[in-house]
Symmetry: C2
Subunit: 314 residues, 2 copies
Amino acid sequence: MLERTLGVSPQAIVGFGDDISAISLPGGKAAILKTDMLVGSTDVPPGMTMRQAARKAVVASVSDMAAKGVRPIAGLVALGLPPRLTRKDVHDLAIGLRDAQDEYGFAIVGGDTNESRDLTISIALFAIADPGQLVLRTGARSGDIVAVTGEFGDTSAGLKALLEKRKGPRDLAKPLYDAVFYPRAQLSLGLKLANSRTLSASIDSSDGLAWSLHELAKANGLGIEINTIPVSKSAHDFAQRYRYGPEKLALYGGEEYHLIVAVKRHKLELACRAARGKLKPIGVVTKEFDGVRLIRSGQTVNIPRKGWEHFKTR
Amino acid sequence: MLERTLGVSPQAIVGFGDDISAISLPGGKAAILKTDMLVGSTDVPPGMTMRQAARKAVVASVSDMAAKGVRPIAGLVALGLPPRLTRKDVHDLAIGLRDAQDEYGFAIVGGDTNESRDLTISIALFAIADPGQLVLRTGARSGDIVAVTGEFGDTSAGLKALLEKRKGPRDLAKPLYDAVFYPRAQLSLGLKLANSRTLSASIDSSDGLAWSLHELAKANGLGIEINTIPVSKSAHDFAQRYRYGPEKLALYGGEEYHLIVAVKRHKLELACRAARGKLKPIGVVTKEFDGVRLIRSGQTVNIPRKGWEHFKTR
């Protein structure tokens, strides 16, 4: 809706529809811009502290930069604070922002504070990059290998554990809660992969594995055929105990900040080396169909375009 | 609170505490960054359309850039949309964003859409500037002339008219409502003044005349002595009719987007010429006291630090 109304700017090298926006600067470089808003009522699960919420708001934006191979230089934060918050809450929130800026090596240099009915933490990040080095959502070709930087399901299992009060034993719950309360953006991995020049396209998985695969396929006008669903061991154990489908947890989660990349076929080994073993091939890009399919043991299953996105019908 | 916790970044030429933030770039230029959040429950008065609200959200950020003499190049928008909004509401909101980008000559190149309990429009603007040409809040000297780019009171009179249902005759109400629903950022005036190299400091008046004068004084460790309060004719007429204090309307309003500047004393004429008659001297910067005083007809009155700012005690 926004994109259609606002139009396409001639200055924008990358506009709506990718993980970041990019503007060409005099001298050949590009300014990379990203905004992401965390909202209390929809993005902060029960039990999450203000510090964790603020840190997570930043992680979400950093993850988008990571997917493009860009290191953020500076950030801004606009806050909407419900009147019920105490001074300590706001201090904790500031600490969470500091956690994130220290963790990812940039500085939050300005902000705006407001009163709001819903806790709102809106982050804007800024970076400078060589436009030729950006790894966009587009650029994949039929035959490219689709790979991921981690296993999926911990976040959705953790949310189910929290929301449906299925805690289970401590050993089981800990990695799931960590995934929810302390997500990590794959910044150094994203930078290493981009520097290795082995990728043809990339997206972060914050809208869920299935949804993000669909976005990647659509952006390239191609299909993605996967031959495995990368479920984490902890999500698998949780699913077994409480009789969930482990692969559903992995496919239809969200706010799980891995990278999903298309690797040029003849550069797969180089990419895996650059990622130091953290890259797992799960399928290929294909021109044979649109959308996303799982082909396993001779059977083909359509992976529906479902996932985590607010107002997705707009 | 944020500034104290996040610390001062060595990269930030300008950080928290000014209207914008600035980061030094390789090659000597600076990236100028600004974020501003509009919140439905506190910033959208009764009768304001979605289109006007979205436009106003952008105007608020543009005004801060205007005060520094910087033209925005690109913007981002993060939206928090209550579920009750219709598709048409969201379309109108996008039209309002387009109004603003067209009016001020830049492009909104990316965004993020969320569900929220409170309508939230968070704008981030980006520009490139020569750091030596930025007109900061600091830089004023004792003896500099304090001047404003417009008269005050229309916005607070308009808000009173709306909130207390004091409409009055149409001729009276129209300029007041226009000020509320269709505020304008003084971008071209800010650019002309900055280019004239006549200013020593500048701030936008969005937190109200009194508050902004105090901010300007404090940023420079000096005082401001004003000899007149620039009340608009329409605010004056409204005040007379409904027995408000016209000068209070002018002093303690907010979201009125004029510029308040300190002009180097010997360059006042040049500044007035650059502003084509739109600059009105109202006082001087002084080292004789802190804060803001009105000295008129031999009498001295302290102007209290009151105005429009959420969470000001934090």
